[in-house]
Amino acid sequence: MLSLVVRRLGLLVVVLFGLSLLLFAWVRALPGDPARALLGEKATPAGIAAVNERYGFDQPVWQQYLTYLGQIVRGDFGASINTGEPVVTTFFERFPATIELSIAALVLAIALGIPLGYLAARRRGGWLDNIVVGWSLLGVVVPVFFLAVILKYALAIQFGWFPTSGRQNARIDATHITNFYVLDGLLTREWDASWDALVHLVLPALALGSIPLAIIVRITRASVLDVLSDDHVRTAQAKGLPRGVISRRHVLRNALLPVSTTLGLQAGALLSGAVLTETVFSINGIGSYLFDAVTQLDYPVLQGFILFIAVVYALVNLVVDVSYGFIDPRVRVS
């Protein structure tokens, strides 16, 4: 277990190294001098001087790279050209919104996906199975942003059941501690704030969760079908165990193993989808942060974002893989 963690962290270091090299090389490859390229249209002599100062562009190349590396190691991933805010600060400010949305989407996907996949497998070939297989296919091919737009149009604009954007009604005077709005409301006992935040989450979570839902349903179904024909299920039946016990302890517990391995992939889908969903629903998460940076050509933010996401993604995958050892005893190192 420990060796796995060490190996993964080592790999992360190598990857960050590679990424930083690529990003560094890219800035050099831009036409004109780096400071001007970074600033783009907003280049002013004062601005250029400031950028040179900050990033050390007037130094020899190798020294620049070292400075760059040094900054990364110290956690300085650059600052926005427009606002001057350090990337790291803004990232941590906006991360909770994305995490909250992702958790909501994942909870939705799991709560719906696993039972549906299981039922579809148990009643294989039945109407439920066919519907489930069909819809899960749709979930994969219908783009997240399209679904977001449709949901927004149908349920928010047409029927007015849900708010069209944002995380919380501005008129509710909510106190924010952690920046997880639902949690904050609970912590401060401002129930209406919490509820309001929850309501704002519904549509985005539905849109974002559509892909994890589709994947979870398909994998659960396939996995349950596999396990149902396993010999050890027959042994459990021969023991005369009650049906519910067999379903939970013998079928599901084994069938869910492959599902948990895909959670790392889901994290990737969630992060990608977040960019699109947050844009549609005007949520201030890191997804829309990237979007803003892209539209405004805020290159330092873009660079910092890439490095940051690499770290987050690697850590999430590491956590998922490590926890897999707790679920499947065959993987545990004795």
Partner: protein, 327 residues
């Protein structure tokens, strides 16, 4: 009355839009309390399906089971799944062929024992745990307390099969069905596990149906034997009678096929000619007749009954021209 009476059991499988296959075509046999009865035959003769039908473990979809399976007077085939489940594990138990896949990989061995104990007896957790450790010891697993906390993948095949035997015997069932319990094990282990199983069964007075294709196993363990061919019993006898005076041509063929240590050097092997696919439906005569050396028209004219008061007590053969004594 016998403990288990299987009468005219027929099992048919139908695939969607495909032909119906009859796997078991009228099997009848009985098992008395404390007896060890063998079901012998080659692959595909229906012996495993018979055992699964007795236990009620066949898939519900696409399967038709007719006949009767009386256990202690009650026809198991008429019971609801819930009623059947209550008897499984407590009155009737089964040991399967492949120990590598028959245990749940994510539960500890102790758990897999305690769950069957707690389901059928009223034991609380600590009593069940103690009993589980004792059971593991009884089947010859060293250091049973430690092993109880381990997982199946940490044990060898032979060990796993011992655990499965322990699970089957946990609630002292009246009947155990063992479906080729040693076939999947290393040759060196087979004898050990078989001896263990036989000893435990005799010790507790449990009846056993032993399914095998190996005549040697039969000779070593069974009291009575049923020889199956193409889904039907073709010969029934006590062990001694079967080996000493086989009647049905298939049985004689099987016995002749076993190489003998005392045969002169260079003696050719005598396999049973043809293959299982050379088949005549039982409704039209003897299914074995295409492969039988002495088959004639009488063997191909309609159903042949299992008969044979002339063969001796309890010895019956489904044969128009049974072998003479001394063949």
């Amino acid at each position: 009355m016998s403990l288990l009476e299987v009468e005219d059991l027929r099992v048919r499988f139908s695939r969607k839009g495909g032909p119906t296959t009859t796997a078991v075509d009228g099997v009848s046999f009985s098992v008395d309390a404390g007896e060890v009865v063998g079901l012998v035959g080659e692959s595909g003769c229906g012996k495993s399906v018979t055992s699964l039908a007795v236990m009620g473990l066949l898939p519900r979809r696409g399967t038709t089971v007719t006949g009767s399976v009386r256990f202690d007077g009650t026809d198991l085939l008429t019971l609801s799944p819930g009623q059947l489940a209550r008897r499984r594990g407590s009155d009737l138990a089964m040991v399967f062929q492949d120990p590598m896949t028959s245990l749940n990989p994510v539960l500890t061995l102790g758990r897999q024992l305690t769950e069957v104990l707690r389901t059928h007896t009223g034991m609380n957790r600590s009593a069940a745990k103690k009993e589980a450790v004792e059971l593991l010891g009884r089947v010859g697993i060293p250091d049973p307390r430690r092993r109880a906390g381990e997982y199946p993948h940490q044990l060898s095949g032979g060990m796993r099969q011992r655990v499965l035997i322990a699970i089957a015997l946990a609630c002292t069932p009246r009947l155990i069905i063992a479906d080729e319990p040693t076939t999947a094990l290393d040759v060196t282990i087979q004898a050990q596990v078989l001896d263990l199983l036989t000893a435990l069964v005799r010790e507790s007075g449990t009846a056993m149906v032993l399914i095998t294709h190996d005549l040697g196993v039969v000779a070593g363990t069974c009291d009575r034997v049923n020889v199956l061919y193409a889904g039907r019993v073709v010969e029934q006898a006590g062990k001694r009678e079967l080996f000493a005076e086989p009647r049905h041509r298939y049985t004689t063929g099987l016995l002749n096929a076993v190489p003998r240590v005392d045969a002169p050097e260079g003696t050719a092997l005598q396999p049973v000619p043809g293959s299982v696919r050379d088949l005549l439906p039982w409704a039209q005569g003897c299914a074995f007749s295409p492969r039988c050396g002495v088959a004639d028209e009488g063997c191909r004219s309609g159903e042949i009954a299992l008969s044979g008061s002339e063969h001796g007590a309890g010895h019956r053969a489904r044969c128009v021209h049974p072998a003479e004594v001394g063949v």
